[in-house]
C-alpha cells in the first residue's frame, strides 16, 4: 500500500475493467470459516460457484478491488463451456463470446492454408468447439452468476499476508483498507495465479522449463469481415522469420500475437509507434484499427510437484503454467476446479475420506502434465531452438501443402480438449467388452435428447445412465433412464448402448464405471470406489 494515496501500487500499472468498492473489514478479528478461496480470477470465481451451488459458505479473497482489463485469457474450450454450463453460466458465455471450430495454418505469403483443423469433430453437442471472449467479460459473467449465491462472499481488496497451516486448519492474516484481521479456515483453495502469494507463503515453487522467446500481444479494435477462425502464420511477409496468430474477440476486438525473438527491448516493443507498423503491414493500408491494449510476454511450462498440501489446495495458474499456444492455461484451471469441487463437497459433508483429495492431486497432475507436454511440443515447433530443429520444422512445412501426412506434424498449438484419467483410482475397470463408447476415466460426451442435452441432465451429482430401470440401487444415486428419452439414438451410439447397459457418471461428468449387465451390488461397489473408499 502507498500510505499517502491509500492505493496499492498495482492500481498504477494494471488497467481496470470494472472497479468495486473495497470490501469492509469483517466484524470479528479472528474469523472461522469452512472454505476460503484466494483469488478473484476466473478460476477462483468458478471454484466459488461450484462450491456455492453445492450449498457451502464460501469466502473469496481478492487482493485487487477490481476486474482487470488488458490482454489475458481469451480462448475457452468446449470442455470449459460444458463446465460453465454445469455452473449455470455456459449459455451466457456462448452468447457473449465468438464461437469457432476451425483453425487454419498459413505459411509465408501463400494464400491457401497448409493445414486446417476442426475442433468439434463430433457435431450435435450443445456447446461449440471453442469460444473467444475477453477474460474480463468471462469474469463479469461469473460474477453475475455469483449474485445468485448469497452464501458466497467476495471480499475485494483483501490480501493474504501471512499463513500458518496445521493438520486441522489454515490460519491466514489478511490486510484490507480498514486494517488487518485473521481467518481460520478448514480449507484454503489457492487460485491466486502465477505469482501466487499462498504458494510463496508456503515456501513452495514450480519445476520445469522457462522459454525465452518473446511475444507481442496486440489487441486491436477494427471492423473486419474475416471469418471466426483461428489463423496462424509461419514466417509471413509481415513478420519475417517469426510467427503470427490471429483471433477474433467480441466487441470488434482482434488479438494478434507477434513472435518477436529473443533479444528485444521490452519497453520499446510495446510503444504504439513500433506496434502500429507491424499491425499495418499485416492488415494492409485500407483497414482502420485502433489500439485496445499492447503488451509483451514470455512464458513458462512448469508446475508444482503437488497441488494438494494438507489444508491448502492449489488450482489454476498457481499450480501450473503453460505457453498460450493451445489455450491450456485458463482451460486447465477450469478443469482443476471441476475436478476438485465435488470431492471437497463430499469431504465437507463428511461423506468421503480426506484421501479422496489425493485423487484431485493425481488427476489434476495428469491434466497439467498433458497440457505442459502439448504446450512444450508446440513451443519447440513454433520457436525452434537450434538450426537442425528449424530445418526439420521448415521441412514439415515444405511438405505440408502437397503431402497429407506432413499436415499432421504441423504444430501451431494443439488446442485444449478434455483430458482422460485412464489410471484413476476412482474408476472401476471394464469387465465387459465394449466397442467404443466412453471408457472409465474419460469425460462424458454430450448428445442431443428430445428435450435438451445429455450433459444438462447429468448435472453435478453421481448419475446412473441406464437403458433399463432396476431396483436395489445404492441410496442417493440418481438415475437417468434412457428408455424415457424418445430421441436417444445418438446417445446410444455414442455410449455403445445399442445392446443395453449402464454408465456410472461422476459429478464432474467423467465416467466412473460401465456395465453390460448392471447389478445393484456392482454399481454400489463402483460408487464406493468413485467416492474414495479404498477397496
Amino acid at each position: 500500500m502507498n500510505v499517502e494515496t491509500g492505493k496499492a501500487a498495482w492500481r498504477e500499472t494494471i488497467p481496470v475493467w470494472r472497479a468495486f468498492e473495497p470490501s469492509p473489514k469483517p466484524e470479528t478479528e479472528f474469523e472461522q470459516a469452512r472454505v476460503v478461496i484466494v483469488g478473484t480470477g476466473p478460476v477462483g470465481l468458478a471454484m466459488a460457484i461450484d462450491l456455492g451451488q453445492r450449498g457451502h459458505e464460501v469466502i473469496v479473497l481478492g487482493r485487487f478491488d477490481f476486474v482487470p482489463a488488458g490482454s489475458k485469457a481469451i480462448c475457452f474450450s468446449k470442455r470449459s463451456l460444458d463446465i460453465l454450463d454445469r455452473l449455470g453460466c455456459g449459455e451466457q458465455a456462448v452468447e457473449k463470446g465468438v464461437s469457432w471450430n476451425i483453425g487454419k495454418v498459413f505459411w509465408k505469403d501463400r494464400s491457401d492454408p497448409v493445414y486446417k483443423f476442426d475442433l468439434l469433430p463430433v457435431k450435435n453437442q450443445k456447446m461449440p468447439g471453442f469460444i473467444n471472449i475477453q477474460q474480463y467479460h468471462m469474469e463479469d459473467i461469473l460474477l453475475d452468476r455469483l449474485k445468485q449465491l448469497p452464501n458466497v462472499q467476495i471480499r475485494w481488496g483483501h490480501e493474504v499476508t501471512a499463513l500458518d497451516t496445521s493438520e486441522e486448519s489454515a490460519i491466514m492474516s489478511v490486510d484490507c483498507a480498514d486494517g488487518a484481521y485473521r481467518i481460520e479456515t478448514e480449507w484454503l483453495i489457492a487460485c491466486d495465479g502465477n505469482k501466487s502469494s499462498v504458494r510463496d507463503l508456503m515456501g513452495l515453487d514450480f519445476e520445469g522449463r522457462i522459454f525465452e522467446d518473446n511475444f507481442l500481444i496486440a489487441d486491436v479494435k477494427m471492423k473486419e469481415d474475416r471469418p471466426s477462425e483461428r489463423w496462424f502464420w509461419f514466417d509471413p511477409p509481415f513478420n519475417p522469420g517469426q510467427s503470427v496468430l490471429l483471433h477474433k474477440q467480441p466487441d470488434d476486438v482482434w488479438r494478434i500475437d507477434f513472435q518477436l525473438g529473443w533479444n528485444i527491448d521490452r519497453e520499446a516493443c510495446i510503444k504504439p509507434e513500433n506496434v502500429n507498423p507491424l499491425v499495418r503491414a499485416m492488415l494492409g493500408d485500407d483497414v482502420e484499427f485502433e489500439e485496445e491494449w499492447y503488451s509483451v510476454y514470455t512464458f513458462q511450462c512448469r508446475r508444482m510437484q503437488h497441488f494438494w498440501h494438507g489444508r491448502v489446495i492449489f488450482a489454476g495458474d498457481s499450480a501450473h503454467l503453460v505457453s498460450p499456444f493451445g489455450a491450456r492455461g485458463c482451460n486447465g484451471g477450469f478443469a482443476d476446479i471441476d475436478n476438485l469441487g465435488w470431492k471437497l463437497d463430499l469431504v465437507l459433508e463428511g461423506k468421503a475420506p480426506f484421501d479422496i483429495l489425493e485423487s484431485y492431486d493425481s488427476e489434476a497432475i495428469v491434466t497439467a502434465d498433458e497440457n505442459i507436454l502439448n504446450s512444450t511440443r508446440s513451443t519447440d515447433f513454433l520457436t525452434p531452438k537450434s538450426d537442425i530443429s528449424r530445418a526439420f520444422r521448415d521441412a514439415v512445412l515444405d511438405l505440408a501443402e502437397d503431402h497429407p501426412f506432413a499436415r499432421a506434424l504441423v504444430n501451431s498449438g494443439r488446442l485444449s480438449t478434455a483430458i482422460s484419467y485412464p489410471d484413476s483410482s476412482l474408476s472401476t475397470a471394464d469387465a465387459d467388452v465394449w466397442s467404443g463408447g466412453i471408457a472409465p476415466g474419460s469425460p462424458a460426451l454430450d448428445a442431443p435428447l428430445d428435450n435438451g442435452w445429455l450433459l444438462e441432465k447429468l448435472g453435478g451429482r453421481f448419475v446412473l445412465l441406464t437403458t433399463t430401470p432396476f431396483a436395489d440401487l445404492p441410496s442417493g444415486l440418481d438415475v437417468l433412464d434412457i428408455a424415457q428419452e424418445p430421441a436417444n439414438g445418438l446417445l446410444r451410439e455414442r455410449y455403445d448402448l445399442q445392446g443395453g447397459g449402464a454408465y456410472l457418471i461422476r459429478p464432474d461428468q467423467y465416467v466412473a464405471a460401465r456395465f453390460r449387465q448392471p447389478t445393484g451390488a456392482a454399481i454400489a461397489d463402483a460408487l464406493a470406489r468413485a467416492m474414495g473408499e479404498q477397496a
Binding site: A391, F392, A395, V396
Partner: protein
C-alpha cells in the same frame, strides 16, 4: 517387426549416388532441410512406431562412437 539391419537394397551404390547427388544439388544449409524432408518422408512410409523408435535410438548411439 523390428528394424532391418541386413542389406535390403538391390543396388546400394546407385541409391547412395542418387542420395548424395540430391543433397549436393542444394546449398549446404538447404541440404540440411532437404535431408530433413527425406527423413520425414521415409519415417511416414515406415509408420511402425517400434521400427522408427529403434532407428532413432540406433542413430543416436552411433554418433557417440
Amino acid at each position: 517387426m523390428s528394424l532391418t539391419l541386413e542389406t535390403n537394397l538391390e543396388d546400394p551404390d546407385a541409391i547412395y549416388e542418387k542420395l548424395i547427388a540430391m543433397l549436393e544439388s542444394h546449398e549446404p544449409e538447404k541440404a540440411l532441410r532437404a535431408s530433413a524432408r527425406l527423413v520425414l518422408l521415409l519415417i511416414n512410409h515406415i509408420g511402425d512406431r517400434k521400427v522408427i523408435d529403434e532407428a532413432i535410438e540406433r542413430a543416436a548411439l552411433l554418433t557417440e562412437a
